[in-house]
Amino acid sequence: MTCWSVNRRTTDYVDGRLRGPELARVEAHLRRCAKCEVRLHDLSAVRETLQHLPKAKSPLNLRTKLRIISSQERKLLLEADGSRLRLLWNDWKFRMQQLMRPLTIPATGGLCTSVVLFGALAFTIGTTTQGLQYEVPVMDSGHIDANLVPVELRSSIVLTLSLDGNGRITDYAFRNDSRSVQGDASALQHHNIAMPEIPSVLAMQQPVSSDIQISVTPMIFRR
């Protein structure tokens, strides 16, 4: 074995990795070559000295600093990584809330208000219109002669009166078989219509604000 061959195996020899015949050949060379022998001996001494160097002990505060770092990083991890789904969920929720807020509040409020009002007023809702079928004879007996005989005309008149809440006539309309007339209260006399006092005639207990339809059968008196 030459010095070059030994040089190639120096690291393995110093580290004790040579075995068997290869180790024997290197040792045989070292016995013959003082230069290689000194060199390998020195290198072995270097290695041994390095191995016996005392281990550097870390400063006491290093552990504390590392714990602080680990705590901070752990917190970041849990916030960012561990709750990624939660963050996505929260983000989605936030966006949906922003999107729906203009719609949900009026819709919900309106619905609730409707339900409450319906519930409150449901019992008061009912028809206030009562069909009254009165046969009220209208005649002025002070002008009727005893010898006169009432004769019913064939044509009848249907009078529709619109009353305000105080029983006053605001509008009227009447029609007979041939024509239909509409007008306001002031035109009643113009059409030769003399109306009795409606509330008293109809014996109404309450003011009426709806329309009243009166069927009138005109009569004449003949001798």
């Binding site: 120096t10 690291t11 393995d12 110093v14 580290d15 060199r39 020195d42 290198l43 001494a45 270097v46 290695r47 041994e48 000295t49 390095l50 191995q51 016996h52 160097l53 005392p54 281990k55 550097a56 002990k57 870390s58 400063p59 290093l62 552990r63 600093k65 590392l66 714990r67 770092i69 680990s70 705590s71 990083e73 752990r74 991890l77 849990l78 990584d81 561990g82």
Partner: protein
């Protein structure tokens, strides 16, 4: 006839061929770190703080710098654990980060602080002995010799090429195998052996060049 999926060792070839990189213990710690479990962080610090500090201290030769670098290393480990692909062992990965950080720190120091004079004299020429753990297997006499020898070797370590110093420290101070060193430095086994040899040769030259003391005396 042997089962086609069985290797000579009797393991399933699929499993034998799979390169998981990390041991069960590493995998457990990694799972803990990724889940944010406090105990995993504690265990990682317990296992690697001292090792990493000792190595970085030997690479930089300064306790304060080593402390700063170790903090950077652990910060990178904590932040990078989610992207660690587990193709190497946890120790290899942490050592690789530590060496890169130490190299970065040394380059930064050379660029910015080489003209500054430190207030705290705890460099290799004035190591803080209180923070160094003596080898318990050495007698007081041997330890007295060690003190002198340590000063010589530590001074020599600072003088050699950082590339060779790293290889020597990993092998002779940290007692890592060639294979581990190759994985950490991401070089071939031949390169590892070459760097270790050249580092030791450089140390030998540094020590033998001392006019007042020969290597044999220094290493006695």
């Amino acid at each position: 006839m042997a089962h086609p999926f069985l290797t000579n060792s009797g393991k399933l070839s699929i499993l034998a061929g799979a390169q998981t990189g990390v041991s069960e213990e590493d995998a457990r710690i990694l799972r803990g770190l990724r889940s944010g479990i406090e105990g995993a962080y504690e265990e990682l610090i317990d296992r690697y703080e001292q090792q990493i500090f000792a190595m970085v201290y030997r690479l930089l030769g300064n306790q304060s710098d080593a402390s700063d670098v170790v903090q950077e290393v652990f910060l990178k480990v904590f932040r990078g654990v989610s992207t660690f692909r587990e193709q190497s062992s946890l120790r290899t990965w942490i050592y690789r980060i530590a060496i890169n950080e130490a190299n970065n720190h040394r380059r930064w120091f050379v660029r910015h602080c080489r003209m500054e004079v430190p207030m705290e004299e705890n460099g290799p020429e004035h190591p803080n002995c209180l923070d160094l753990t003596p080898d318990p297997g050495r007698s007081p006499f041997e330890q007295a010799l060690d003190s002198e020898t340590r000063t010589l070797i530590e001074r020599a370590l600072t003088q050699i090429n950082p590339v060779f110093r790293t290889a020597v420290v990993l092998r002779d101070v940290q007692n890592l195998s060639y294979e581990e060193i190759a994985e950490i430095l991401q070089v071939s086994l031949g390169t590892v052996k070459s760097r270790i040899l050249r580092g030791r040769e450089a140390l030998r030259r540094e020590l033998t060049q001392r006019p007042d003391q020969g290597l044999a005396e220094a290493m006695a």
